[in-house]
């Protein structure tokens, strides 16, 4: 009997909730832990209702202590569980860095495969929701540098569902960053069919020939709109790549696109210096140098702490910045 899968008009929050529910149902080793994720369903409601279905042994409200949330996840993961830990905001992830750098990502290598660490750390990230200080971080670059870690960032409900399922099933530690700015602002038709998406692929969201725009997470919204504007207003054919997996980085897809277009602009919300764009640029010029007709452009956050919310717009890269940088990049090396 073929089970018909339910279709949902889903926000990213819905999609994540469905993915968690699916993963919890399909594998009893999946457990969730974090602050306020049980009775309260998470401050963004991503885990809403799960405690009622799966019980307090699998949906664990932890004490307010991120270090041990990460550390105990490492311990649990080595015993065959698949912990999915929520860090309430990425701004509170820093005290977990030691467990990520020194243990989660090294246990397999340290024991030559005897112990493994299949854990997922979920954290809402990025700005744009008018939250207090420390609630708007985008420091994925710091984590992209850690050998042994996967860093995954969905840009839409459908991708959130598939990528989270794959992250939970993956036997490597995964940092799963959720662009909270689009938690509820975008809806998509979602089939709850339990199908994962690959963790090692960029996704081409739009094809084009003149310029490649590369982005991920919430910035995909502005990037797509900038692409549409460039096409509409100036007749420029823009390809848009959603990086999705920051690490490992699928440079093949990016390189191929840039070889075709000869021009690229990278858009990210993270601060510029030593930000994620650097690596992507390094690879592009390493592998497609002689195809490049202009320097790869960057549209990024500034090298400043995120302004408090009244002025966060000054920080957030916007459509106009992307359009202008695209135009500059198109003019260079004519």
């Amino acid at each position: 009997m073929i089970k018909a899968h339910q279709t949902h008009e889903a926000t990213m929050v819905d999609a994540l909730n469905l993915a968690l529910k699916h993963a919890l149902a399909e594998d009893e080793n999946v457990v969730l832990l974090g602050e306020d994720i049980g009775t309260n369903g998470g401050v963004f409601r991503v885990t809403e209702g799960l405690k009622d279905i799966f019980g307090v042994r699998r949906i664990m409200d932890t004490p307010l202590a991120e270090t041990i949330i990460a550390g105990m996840s490492v311990g649990m993961a080595t015993q065959g569980l698949r912990p999915v830990a929520e860090i309430q905001f990425m701004g509170f992830i820093y005290s977990t860095v030691e467990h990520i750098v020194s243990h989660a990502t090294r246990l397999r290598n340290r024991t030559r495969g005897r112990l493994t660490c299949p854990l997922v750390i979920r954290a809402p990230f990025g700005g744009g929701i008018h939250a207090p200080e420390h609630h708007s971080e985008s420091t994925e670059a710091m984590f992209g540098h850690i050998p042994g870690l996967r860093v995954v960032i969905p840009s839409s409900p459908v991708r959130a569902y598939g990528l989270l399922l794959s992250a939970i099933r993956c036997n490597d530690p995964v940092l799963f960053l959720e662009p909270k700015r689009v938690y509820r602002s975008v809806k998509q038709n979602l089939v709850d069919n339990g199908e994962g998406l690959p963790l090692d692929s960029c996704f081409i969201l739009r094809e084009g020939n003149d310029l490649t725009l590369i982005s991920w997470g919430a910035m995909i919204q502005e990037t797509l709109q900038a692409a549409a504007a460039l096409e509409k207003q100036y007749g420029i054919s823009v390809e848009v790549v959603d990086v999705a997996s920051i690490k490992p980085l699928d440079s093949a897809t990016i390189i191929e696109s840039v070889k075709k277009t000869g021009r690229a602009v990278i858009v990210h919300e993270a601060a510029k210096t030593y930000g994620p764009a650097g690596e992507i640029i390094a690879r592009i010029q390493e592998e497609a140098f002689f195809h490049l007709r202009a320097p790869v452009g960057r549209v990024t956050g500034f090298d400043i702490p995120m302004p408090y919310f009244k002025n966060e717009a000054i920080y957030m890269p916007d459509i106009q910045q992307i359009v202008e940088q695209a135009q500059t990049t198109l003019q260079q090396g004519q």
């Binding site: 602050e35 306020d36 049980g38 009775t39 309260n40 369903g41 401050v43 409200d61 004490p63 307010l64 202590a65 991120e66 270090t67 701004g91 509170f92 005290s95 008018h130 939250a131 207090p132 200080e133 420390h134 609630h135 510029k272 210096t273 500034f302 090298d303 400043i304 702490p305 302004p307 408090y308 919310f309 009244k310 002025n311 966060e312 717009a313 000054i314 920080y315 106009q320 910045q321």
Partner: protein
């Protein structure tokens, strides 16, 4: 359960101090240094704090303020602290200490600015004030406070460092590392825990198995005490004693003040999702303002007229602060670049120039 091969090598006890109960009755005699005038003052501070609180929530509801954490029901702790600290003591607060900060001279307009998403709220109108701004990453302020207390110790300065945190914060490593340091270095530190029983949706029974938060100080061999966090007299007395001890460099104190969060965690929270109505209702009966007013009234220190007058006065003062807040001129683009380093480095200078244009585009004046 002790077997014969075991000998007792250390023992500890935790005390709780109480004066004014929920019915406004003194269960222990009023300490001589707590004058009636001081308690009238205390009450007035709480009226002001609650007026501020209500206004902040109202501003948030009308889109004029961001997420705001109400201190409803917890005003006594903050007020007592504000009243007992001296100017050169340093406060390292968390985000629910409005009353302490107001009493220490940070005007409400600064607090509104901060919660309104403007960094200048932490500039503080009083430039001599070296208090820390509110701390958002839970419990990290305790480590900063330990450092400030260390500076006082190095300089033999007769001041105290005061830091505050919530009950949830006592689960984090920073809390213990700071207490441990305060113990071994005998730091002039007073750490106050606002045990309002909730950390967002998590009741304290899920944070820790301890009977009291005060006993966590035993892990650092520092003095500790539990006090009724709704009892103004107990709070004034305990804080004063601990502050004096700190200023004399006679050691640190952890004070657990047990109270109850009558409001939502913040304006972004809905406590009805996780909290029983009846818990809230019974907590309302023990809150600090009712009991102090009862006592003051019974002792002819307060009456309905004074109450009306005080409320009106506070509302007026707060209204002026709101106006000053709303009249705050906007920041300029440079403000976001000029304080990242002492001097703006070359790479940031370029970005600043770019940001100026963007700023003009976004908000042309």
């Amino acid at each position: 359960m002790k077997n014969n091969a075991q000998t007792e090598i250390a023992q500890f006890k935790i005390l709780r101090e109480e004066y004014l109960n929920a019915k406004g009755e003194l269960v222990n005699p009023l300490p001589s240094d707590i004058t009636p005038a001081l308690l009238v003052q205390f009450y007035k501070h709480m009226v002001y704090a609650r007026t501020f609180d209500q206004k902040a929530i109202a501003l948030q509801r009308t889109g004029k303020l961001g997420t705001y954490p109400s201190a409803l029901g917890q005003e006594a702790i903050n007020t007592a602290l504000g009243m007992m600290m001296k100017e050169k003591d340093v406060l390292v607060p968390y985000y629910r200490d409005h009353s302490t900060r107001l009493i220490r001279g940070t005007p409400a307009r600064d607090l509104f600015r901060y919660w309104g998403g403007d960094e200048r709220g932490s500039l503080f109108s009083n430039p001599l004030n070296v208090d820390f701004p509110d701390c958002v990453p839970i419990a990290t302020q305790l480590s900063h406070a330990a450092g400030i207390a260390t500076a006082m110790k190095i300089r033999n300065a007769p001041f105290a460092t005061v830091t505050t945190c919530g009950d949830g914060a006592t689960s984090r490593g920073d809390f213990y590392e700071a207490l441990n340091l305060a113990g071994v270095w005998q730091l002039p530190l007073v750490a106050v825990v606002n045990n309002n029983r909730w950390a967002i949706s998590v009741p304290f029974s899920k944070q820790s198995k301890v009977q009291t938060i005060a006993q966590k100080a035993i892990a650092a061999e520092i003095d500790a005490l539990q006090v009724d966090g709704n009892d103004p007299i107990g709070l004034l007395t305990c804080f004063n004693r601990a502050l004096k001890k700190a200023r004399d460099h006679k050691g640190a104190t952890l004070i657990e003040a047990v109270t109850y969060r009558l409001g939502d965690h913040t304006t972004a929270d809905d406590a009805r999702r996780y909290r029983k109505d009846q818990d809230l209702e019974s907590a309302k009966e023990i809150e600090p303002m009712i009991r102090l007013r009862l006592w003051l009234t019974q002792n002819n220190l307060w009456n309905d007229d004074l109450e009306q007058q005080e409320i009106m006065d506070c509302k007026n003062r707060i209204q002026q602060e709101v106006q000053a807040y709303l009249d705050t001129p906007p920041q300029v683009a440079d403000d976001f670049f000029n304080y990242v380093y002492e001097e703006c480095p070359a790479e940031l200078e370029n970005q600043k120039t770019f940001a100026r244009e963007k700023f003009n585009r976004l908000s042309p004046h």
